[in-house]
Subunit: 259 residues, 2 copies
């Protein structure tokens, strides 16, 4: 796993150490002296599903001009995490060996970088976004129609994340929804969407293909990784689990959906 | 299938005819001369999931004193549809041969008939209610905890309906969620919850048992009957489908949840 990103000098070195301990190549992580890391502050509703942004500071993200290390350019599975569409396009242009490119986006870019987003949509294989973003992008309140409309904008498949209600998948031949894993312990949903994408992409990269059935399994892994993330703050819960815990929950999840 | 209920003289006779054509015994349907049928008017949000009650007129329901025909009292599977808890208790008291009693309720009764509801909860086997009602009843915003808390109030199992997000099941040994069937055609969600309960109870009665696996299949049937109901106004869509259409959608639904 290779990471490309930018942080400020407020970034604790132990975070990088932790990523390395999980076999993540951090050669693409730039630390900008005299600058601060991107920050988001928000407020969750009592249902822990809806949230309001209180403050966003782009900081180092504002001037980030990603340059990929040579060996990163041959990565077969690329995930363009949520960030400005401009930056995503810059990374995309350097990924010459990619077999599968999936991107995330958010309301801010849908509103402010629509033209670049339209270009991005034509150049990626998959898009991951949440329900309200899908409605905003398509101006359609029916998620089934919205999912297919986003797909018609370019990507071969679209995933709509529904927070505590799971995730939907759309391709030309498939429409399905998988529920979230029902956890009684929701401490902090921040990062659940990113964990979903990480779990999904990690599984695809591990399997080395993106056949329909692998994509569905990857969706399930994404849902389960996210279900752990919300059980504590930050990465605390993920730090404390191993692959076996994830696979155990996967067995339970499969049983839950079998009748 | 046997129906107990009350309507006013505004009730069109063809509705009764339609019920009979579907092999529903309407001997328990009372038509009160000079009175009007229960009415509900509401407004759906653009998402077609959240709604506001604009007007409720209890009308004939207000004075309804249900007396079950003799052969109705031996019904093994009883569903106490949403109505005042007082009325539900009166029916319950007459169901002497019931093996399984399931009830529905709503916010109005949770707020105004709490004592009777507590009694009802101790006397039924299963309760079906929607997500906001479960939160109201337990004052817990986490649905997994809320489901189990309702269960601790009496019923052996609890079903929480989540509208377009499916339904959750809670028993002492099981917690699961099944997603809704993703339909692009949501015309009118009115009656989806009742259709869910009807599909679920109909399947249980057909199978003649309520083993855990039958209950899960019944949940799925409920979800699918509701998915047809929302595709048109009133009973229009249900009038136009047959059991084979339902079973076809069930095959698709099972495939959707298999990976």
């Amino acid at each position: 796993m290779r990471l490309v990103g930018v942080v400020g000098e407020d970034w604790p070195a132990e975070h990088t150490e932790f990523l390395r301990s999980r076999r993540i190549d951090t050669a693409g992580l730039r630390v900008v002296p005299g600058a601060r890391t991107f920050r988001w502050r928000g407020k969750y509703q009592r249902n822990m599903n809806d949230r309001q942004t209180v403050d966003v500071q782009l900081n180092v993200m504002e001037q980030f001009d990603p340059v990929l290390p040579e060996d990163f350019r041959r990565c077969p599975f690329v995930f363009l995490a949520n960030g400005s569409t401009e930056i995503q396009l810059k990374v995309l242009g350097q990924c010459l060996g990619a077999n599968l490119i999936v991107a995330d986006t958010m309301d801010l870019w849908i509103r402010t970088e629509r033209q670049q987003l339209n270009e991005l949509l034509r150049r990626i294989d998959g898009l991951v976004l949440n329900d309200s973003e899908a409605k905003l992008l398509t101006e359609d309140d029916n998620l089934v129609r919205a999912g297919h409309r986003v797909r018609e904008m370019g990507p071969r498949f679209v995933v709509i994340k529904k927070g505590e209600h799971g995730a939907m998948f759309f391709s030309r031949h498939e429409t399905y929804v998988l529920p979230a894993y029902p956890t009684a312990r929701v401490v902090d949903p921040t990062g659940a969407g990113d964990s979903f994408a990480g779990g999904m992409m990690g599984y695809l990269a591990e399997q080395g293909n993106f056949e329909p059935r692998t994509l569905k399994e990857a969706m399930a892994y994404g849902i389960l990784v996210a279900s752990f993330t919300v059980e504590d703050f930050s990465l605390e819960r993920l730090k404390n689990i191993e692959r076996a815990d994830l696979d155990r929950r996967m067995d339970e999840y499969r049983r839950m959906l079998t009748f």
